[in-house]
Every structure is written in structure tokens, then in C-alpha cells.
Amino acid sequence: MSSVTSAPVSTPPPTTVRPVRTPPSRRRFGARERHDFLVFLALAAPNILVIVAFSYRPLLSNVYYSTLNWTLGAATAVPVGFDNYVRFFTSPDTAEIARVTAVFTVATVGGSMLLGLLIALVLNRKVRGVGFARAAVFSPFVLSGVGVGLIWVFMFDPTVGVIAAVLRTVDLPSPQWFNDPSLSLVMVIIVYVWKNMGYAAVIYLAGLQAVPRDLLEAAAIDGAGRLRTFRSIILPMLSPTTFFLLITSVLNSLQAFDIIRIMTPLGRGTTTLIYDAYLQAFGGYNRAGYSATVSTVLFGLLVLFTAIQMLVLERRVHYR
């Protein structure tokens, strides 16, 4: 992401050097400049207006709504200052939501990254069909979370599901995935990892292919075994990739919604921060002010993680 903020002139194609722009005339604001000004507005304004209206404005609105005791749909609202925040941070429900969010995030991020790395190692060889396998493994990442959730609800079903059928062959009873809240969380985590591990795999694969050959050859000459090479060379070389994946995966799982909504509509055992924000406003409670409070806290978390990412990336750029 460090190249994002770099100036246009800093990344010219190697063959053409961008000429230093000297304005053709010394007029302060001539016809051409005015023309460009208008062209810019005509081209960029629609996008910018939509972004301002539907991305920036809601952030401010949320902060305002979060100070109200307001029932969604009601004409009036009572300003209550920080009451919603006090309630949020002292409610026993919040402790449970924080626990579920933490377990869900750690398990989905850890699971998809670990499996992603394993798959990347499997894919990182020159054999026929590896391109197909790479695409196949990536494919769940682009599929509808609703469709994926329905498939897995069916597969996890304790009476007619295929998982129960497989367990029956070894005379094991099916776990009560839908009724036991902690098993519901495990179930949702499994599905989320299944959907996202291919993304981690493709990114790890790119990282693996960037490991310099001569380093690996030098290690082989020094007599390092496979495991030793992996631990002492490949894994450290992958650390920027691991860090990137860690941050993007944490951000993604803090936003996970579709699968939770479809597999566990009531959110018993699976109510994360984002799901709570949804349930509070749209799950029958109609607590608009409180939902905005949860959303504001969630956004604060996202900003925190992005800031950490930028700080670390900044450091890394410097000692390269």
C-alpha cells in the first residue's frame, strides 16, 4: 500500500521519463486551466459525491445517532449524551459479544492463514493442473456468502446432513450444531475458513514465488533439510506477506456478516460486533441509537487496525 500515496511522477514507466511540466503560458488562470478545472469536476464529481454522501456522511451521522435514545421509525429521539456508550461498555452482553468476536476473529484468521499457507506450499510446484487447482481453491472466496451458508447448513444438519451421515458410519452421534451456541460458533468458523483460505493461499503463493532462488540453493548447499529451510528461510521471507494477510484478514472477519446471518439467524453464540449492530437496529429491537453506538465502536476498531498496518508498513519501507 505504500505506493498508494506516492506521487504520480515517482512511478513512471522505465522507458519514458515524464517531462517537467512548464505551463505553455504564464497566465494565472487561463482558458485552458479553467477548461481542465471543469473537466475534472465533470469526470470526478459524481463518484466523489456518492462517496461523500454514502461513506463519509454516515460516519458523522453514526456519531450523532449514538448520542440519541431513538427507536428506529420513531419521529422523535431523546438526546442522552454518552448513555449508549456507558451501557455498551458496562453491559454483560458486551462482554459476551467481545468474547465471541475475539474467538471468531482469532480462529478464522488463524485457520484461513494456516490452511492458506499449507495450500500455497502444495500449489508451489511446477506440475500439470496446478493452475486449475489454484483457481479451484480460490473460488469459494468469490461465491455468495448466502449460497455458501445454505450449503453448509444442509451439510451440518444433525439428522439429514452429510456430516452426520459420515459420523454415523463410525457410530458417532452428530454434534448439535444448531442448538449448542458454542458449537454454532465452531460451525460458522469452519465455513468462514473454508470460504477464505483460498485467498490466503493465492497471496502466500505469490510470496513464496518471490523467495530468491539463490537463497534456497545456498541453504541446500549448506545441507539444510526441507523443514529447516522452511523454518529459517521461507517463513522469515514470508513475514511481510503474513503481516499483510493478518491485517486484511482481521479487517475482513470483523466485517463478516452473510454466513452468520444465514446459518445462525438468531445469533445465539455467534453474535459478533457487526452482527450485534445489525440485530440492534434491524433484528426486531429497532434500537437505532444503540446500533449506531456499536457501529461507531466497530469503526474505531477498524481505524485502529489500519493505523497499526500503516505504522508497521512505514517502518518496513524504511529498513528495506
Binding site: T11, T16, L43, Y65, I119, S144, E217, F230, F299
Partner: protein
């Protein structure tokens, strides 16, 4: 151990291999590969097979892998319970219009940011990028209140409008436009070609792969989008497929209904799978952008 160091193959390629270790290598290479693909593919295959099974076949304790017949009973049943065709059409409309406008806005904004003189362009770009960090979930309630207030509930424009702003597409195309040889554009400018001509005759044609990438990612996103359509639409005839499937799963809590639900999943998953299978390079490149490049 399934782990193998990259470069292992490099090493073996330079040395001729004995047939015995070749065979071992083939098993060692393919077994994990097949396993990884199977883990991903089997649930999808199961969905497809089950969508053709009768309720009797689904609730039986003796699991049969293949359905007895390929009669589309579940699809017809789904269409009786929800306006299935209408949902599909709605999804197509929302996806085509939404993704189409999004791509146009991304092209225009990126062109303006790279090729049109304007003060504080870098600041504007940064402000657009920040939106990559604002997930739609956070803006859900304020946007719901604004759009319903404007009468956008249960309308196509209400579903489409809030998602039209694009930080991702703008970012991707801007990065690409900056690599274009400026000399061509300057030559065109000297020849008297205005911005519109330069954009439509030069920049867009030579940027086709990047534009396709942005388009595909937008299409996939619009098609799968769930949370916003879920709250803004309550009229079944205006629902998109993912929202309609929620309705189906709410009305059908019976175990007998899984066949119908799998038919619904096929309808929402298979079109994206087809698009992905035919153009996967672009889709993967688009979705992993920013990570793979440095």
C-alpha cells in the same frame, strides 16, 4: 509432511531424475493437490446433486450420492414459494446497472486524477482511498435512514445508489493509468485531441485488461451483495437472489426443504462460478491487488 520447499522442483529440474523417484514425486505432488481441490469442490458438488433429490431421498438415513432423476422439481418448487425468476432478473438488473455505472465512474475519476490538471489531486485521491476502510456495515443505519427518507425502499435505485462510489476501482485504474506512456497522450494533445477523445480513443482501449478486472470484481460484488439489499428491500418482488434465499430459508425450516434451498443456492452460486471459471485470471488479479504488487 505435505510441506515442500519452493525451489525443490527447481533443484530437481536441473538434475535428471530416476524413474522411481519420479513416480514418488508424482504421488507426492498430486495427492495434496487433489486433496485441496476436493475440500473445496465437494460441498459444491453436493449442492448440485442435492438440488435434484426428492425430499424422500434427502431425509433417508441411507445416504445415496447420486439423485434418482434429474427432474427439476426443486427448482419448480422454489419458484412456487418465492418469485424465483423475478429474483434472478432483479439480481441481473442490479448487477449490470450497478457494476456498469461503477466501472464508468472509476474510469472517469481515475482519468481525471491522472491526466487532468486540478489542485490538491493527491489529497482528493487519499480521501477516496479512505473509503476502502469504511465497510458498508458501518454506514448501514445512516444510509438506510437517508435512502428510505428519499423513497428508495423497494426500488432498484435504492438498492444500487449507495454502492456506486468506488474507492477500489478508482485506485486500481489510477495505478494502471500512471504506467501509460505519457508521450502518446501528449502527441494526441498536440494533434488537437481533447480530453474526451484522449480518454475514449487512447486510454480506454489500451487499458482494457485493467478495466475488465475492475468490471469483474464489481460484478461479483454486486451479485453477492447481501446486507444492504436485505435491509432496504422488504417487497419480495424487488428482492435480489441472496435476499430472496433468506426468505426461502425462513419460510422453509423443515428438513424436507433442503432440496429447494440447494436449488436456490445453485441459482446464486453457479452464475458466478461460470464467470469465474472463464475469466479467473482477471478476478484473482483484481481481488489480490495491493498484496501481490509491491
Amino acid at each position: 509432511m505435505t510441506m515442500s520447499a519452493p525451489g525443490h522442483d527447481q533443484a530437481t529440474r536441473t538434475h535428471p531424475l530416476a524413474p522411481r523417484s519420479l513416480a514418488a514425486a508424482a504421488v507426492g505432488s498430486y495427492l495434496p493437490l487433489v486433496l485441496a481441490v476436493a475440500v473445496v469442490a465437494l460441498p459444491l458438488v453436493w449442492m448440485l446433486l442435492s438440488s435434484f433429490k426428492t425430499p424422500g431421498e434427502l431425509v433417508t438415513q441411507d445416504l445415496a450420492v447420486l439423485p434418482h432423476s434429474l427432474a427439476p422439481d426443486n427448482y419448480l418448487q422454489a419458484a412456487r414459494e418465492v418469485p424465483f425468476v423475478r429474483l434472478f432478473v432483479n439480481s441481473v438488473i442490479v448487477t449490470v446497472i450497478g457494476a456498469g455505472i461503477k466501472v464508468l465512474l472509476a474510469i472517469f475519476t481515475a482519468y481525471a486524477l491522472v491526466f487532468v490538471r486540478f489542485p490538491a489531486k493527491k489529497l482528493i485521491f487519499a480521501a477516496i482511498l479512505v473509503t476502502l476502510m469504511v465497510p458498508p456495515q458501518v454506514s448501514l443505519l445512516p444510509n438506510y435512514i437517508l435512502v428510505t427518507g428519499l423513497g428508495g425502499a423497494d426500488t432498484y435505485w435504492g438498492i444500487i445508489l449507495p454502492g456506486l462510489g468506488t474507492g477500489f476501482g478508482t485506485f486500481l485504474l489510477r495505478q494502471h493509468f500512471m504506467t501509460l506512456p505519457i508521450s502518446i497522450l501528449e502527441a494526441a494533445e498536440i494533434d488537437g485531441a481533447g480530453h474526451w477523445r484522449r480518454l475514449t480513443r487512447i486510454v480506454i482501449p489500451i487499458s482494457a485488461p485493467s478495466i475488465v478486472t475492475v468490471a469483474l470484481v464489481s460484478i461479483v460484488f454486486e451479485w453477492n451483495d447481501y446486507l444492504w439489499p436485505l435491509v432496504i428491500v422488504t417487497d419480495p418482488s424487488m428482492m435480489t437472489l441472496p435476499v430472496g434465499l433468506t426468505l426461502l430459508s425462513n419460510t422453509e425450516s423443515d428438513a424436507l426443504a433442503y432440496g429447494v434451498l440447494m436449488a436456490g443456492s445453485v441459482a446464486v452460486i453457479v452464475p458466478v462460478l461460470i464467470v469465474f471459471a472463464s475469466l479467473q485470471r482477471y478476478v484473482i488479479a483484481g481481488l489480490t491487488q495491493g498484496a501481490v504488487k509491491d
